[in-house]
Amino acid sequence: MSSVLTEAQAGTGSSSGVVVNDFSLQVATANGSGSQTANSVLMRSIFQMGVPVSGKNLFPSNIQGLPTWFTIRASKHGYIGRKREIDVLVCMNPETAEEDVREARAGTHVVYEKKLGLENPGKKRDDVTYYPVPFAELVVKITAAPEHAKLRKLIVNMIYVGVVADLMGIDPAESEIAIAKQLKGKKKAVDLNVSAVKLGLDYAAANFPVKIPYRVERMNATAGKLIVEGNAAAALGCVFAGATVCAWYPITPSSSLCESFIDFCDELRVDAATGKKNVAVIQAEDEIASIGMVLGAGWAGARAFTSTSGPGISLMSEIIGLGYYTEIPAVIFDVQRVGPSTGLPTRTMQGDVLLCYFNSHGDAKHPVLFPASPEECFTMAGEAFDLAERLQTPVFVLTDLDLGMNNWMSDAFPYPTAPLDRGKVLDAAAIEKVKDTWGRYRDVDGDAIPWRTLPGTNSPAGAFFTRGSGHNEKAQYSEKATDYVNNVDRLARKFDTARTLVPKPEIQDRPGAFAGLLAYGTSHYGVSEGRDKLAADFGVPLDYCRLRGLPIGPETAAWIRRHERIYVVEQNRDSQLVTILRDEFPEIAARFVPIRQYNGLPLDATTVVEAVLSDREKSAKKG
């Protein structure tokens, strides 16, 4: 999943002073004002022109009226992480317009509703360029008809698409295609929106002879790629991984994962003959019920999963411990948001690493996977189910709001060709063979993973009793100290087996690297871009290990041991992964240098660059 394009792909800038295919554009609107369509059209238009693009929606935790910012980044280099610096600002929200401009950096180009009078004396900044547009007036022209009146709020957004298209050189034809796609070709709606774009185009053409120096030019770096949210990708992954039971309770930012699963199943899991579904999706009454249902289904032998966010994981803690101790497969997606507590439900964070890894009371540890892109959401969903059934234990898949809910440019998803790994299950025939020698919790293969049977297996000798209380190898109730120790020691060994089974890290080394960067999940984008900057602009080459799963496996361990200094980049306050790394590598624990961003915004490259440079200075001073 390299984030750097070949120069060929990257295309080249044109006339000097003009920046081509490398900018961030931010649209400030109000929540629920229906700007999403316009924003996606803008984003898709650029995407369709072959330019790598990303869209990030910064929205409030309410349904209507509060400020929302949508940021579109175009990058010929394929950097699709968040960029701190905004180049073009579209102010559609009267509530925030003045503050938006006040906080804009010098050189920003500001498109805004004329009547806000941002250029009035006292307000005007002479280090930004203004493009006033009478949106309110314009929109009336095409929505004069009374039946259109209540469409104005929506349509007005399409006008800025046109204005920006003209000012930045976006091909209007692409916008038309994007609109048709967005509105699923509803003729009347399409026409109305297209005319709104036209209105913007014409106005800008007529009134702004000088265009914005940030331009879009065609290149060919998006062919075959998708624009998709991580949650949808994960849901699709669950469908193709053969998940047949889903129990969930809505929570931002995870709801759309299960909702997408429902939609995909309505299309892909319907029995042609009966019209019935080959899947059961249960909207539970809360997260305790969701995880209980998932364990029940996993115990019965189905591939079952749930999706939630931090508060849900906290609630599930007791039952997750049951899953660990009774050894029941389960897949739990945690689309992380900002905690503690309710925190900032619409901001992103990697704050649940310790909660998931050490979840529940007593001694318990759990495998955790870290997808970093939509395609990994898709593929790791499959890996998670294989892992859960192979290891017979709950497996966490940690994504975050940034990955789950934002629009990502993604590689196409590879069709899974490998058979499902259903793990160690004895059928009736196999039970006949092993008979009394079989023990539900006996390690016969040396990998500490026992064999299980499924309820309903037609055999007089197949049944066993699952319990969260003490049990021996035969799954019989036991309070014997030796049985207990024997069992939990095996569970510890099983966790070591997991080290060899979780997804391997993605390692990118650079000649002459004096140290390494270690990161996971969506930190990848800020880290890889920052790493390129450090090498290119500061002559600081760094190796890079993108951790893709816990527990730490041999490859990661080897990479860590090879490095004298390791910057561990995380999107949480307490550098939670560092806690785990120090525990795993006591003899070199001092090598880990935490780099943290935890303000609820996706990690940006600048944060990484600044942190590394300041650390180098510090250590330089030391001697």
Partner: protein, 351 residues
């Protein structure tokens, strides 16, 4: 206490059920409950009911929460799979398992604490879903396993051994279940074995959630004078609302209760429940009357027993979910993994 299967049955075994299985095939491990605990009596009736109904033991899934009562699934049907989960959350586990494999016959055993105190939330939502499950609450009004604190079914004015009095409105799980749209709601008493076994047989045949609240005295912590869940009190206050007999679809006579001034309620599978009045007129299919009778019984300090409300026609959970109704556990790969074309189609919509 033990999940170890007993030795395979010997054909020599004398009496067998319609599957040719002897009662032994339905027995469980040795109980570790107190001598005389009501729960052990219920365990016996569960064994009888499954034996009489001729359910293949390996097709049964047993669920429970935590408590003395919740231990009992280890004491019956060793040939069946057991899931002894955490406290108060049995319904969720049962829901997941039985949705994953609707071909299993599910039985859940819980206690009044496990269900009415910590577990009332899952109880409420389970009833609403009408998941096919025989749900037994072994109701002794206290937390036995933690040494006798009042549970949410303790009656106002009931005293503990210590002498302290319960002041909080008890939850009547039967009227509550009816209020929530329950389709099979019964109450019995561990001392009334015949009635209990009949109710259990009917519950096994019912294709929805069967709530069975069984007064089951805790001889160690709640069998004293002043308790309203003691053997003595229950014996004196039990008030059956009818005689009830059950003819499973695979039998055709109903010896105990000959037709006459009886009411028959047919099940979709052809089984029949037959009720004969006992003085009072009680119609187990009339929701409002049932509720009123139960509420009035509180004032009269009667423990109404029998099948208090019944609606066998209502569709079960899987049906409502629109699922195939067959096991989702081992579907062939080509069924659960859509085609390459399907993936392409979906991805195209994302371009």
């Amino acid at each position: 206490m033990s999940a170890q299967p007993p030795a395979p049955s010997t054909p020599a075994a004398p009496k067998t059920n319609r599957l040719g299985l002897p009662k032994a095939e339905y027995e469980g491990g040795k109980s570790t409950l107190c001598l005389g605990c009501g729960h052990d009596v219920i365990t016996k009736q569960v064994i009888n009911a499954f034996y009489e109904m001729g359910v293949p033991p390996y097709q049964v899934a047993k669920f429970s929460g935590i408590g003395c009562s919740s231990k009992t699934p280890a004491y019956f049907l060793n040939r069946a799979w057991g899931f002894n989960g955490v406290h108060g959350r049995m319904p969720a586990a049962a829901t997941g398992a039985l949705v994953a494999n609707p071909e299993l016959t599910g039985i859940g055993v819980s206690g009044d604490g496990d269900t009415a105190s910590i577990g009332i939330g899952q109880f409420v939502h389970l009833v609403r879903r009408n998941l096919p499950l025989v749900y037994i609450v072994e109701d002794n009004g206290v937390y036995g396993l933690t040494k006798g604190q009042f549970s949410a079914t303790a009656d106002v004015g009931a005293t503990r051994k210590k002498g302290d009095v319960n002041e909080f409105v008890p939850i009547d799980l039967c009227s509550l279940a009816i209020e929530l749209g329950g389709t099979f709601v019964a109450r019995s008493f561990s001392g009334d074995m015949k009635q209990l076994q009949t109710i259990l047989e009917a519950a096994i045949a019912h294709k929805g959630t069967s709530i069975i609240d069984v007064i089951s005295p805790c001889v160690t912590f709640n069998d004293h004078e002043g308790s309203t869940k003691s053997y003595k009190y229950a014996k004196e206050h039990e008030t059956p609302v009818h005689d009830v007999g059950f003819v499973p679809y695979f039998e055709d006579t109903l010896a105990e209760i000959p037709a006459g001034d009886t009411k028959d309620v047919p099940f979709p599978d052809g089984s029949v429940l037959r009720f004969r009045g006992v003085g009072r007129d009680y119609d187990p299919t009339d929701k409002e009357k049932a509720l009123r009778s139960i509420h009035e019984s509180h004032a009269r300090q009667e423990i109404l027993t029998g099948i208090l409300y019944l609606n066998p026609a209502k569709p079960g959970f899987s049906e409502v979910l629109g699922a195939t109704g067959t096991s989702l556990v081992n579907l062939p790969l080509d069924v659960v993994r859509p085609s390459r074309e399907a993936l392409e189609r979906v991805m195209e919509s994302m371009r």
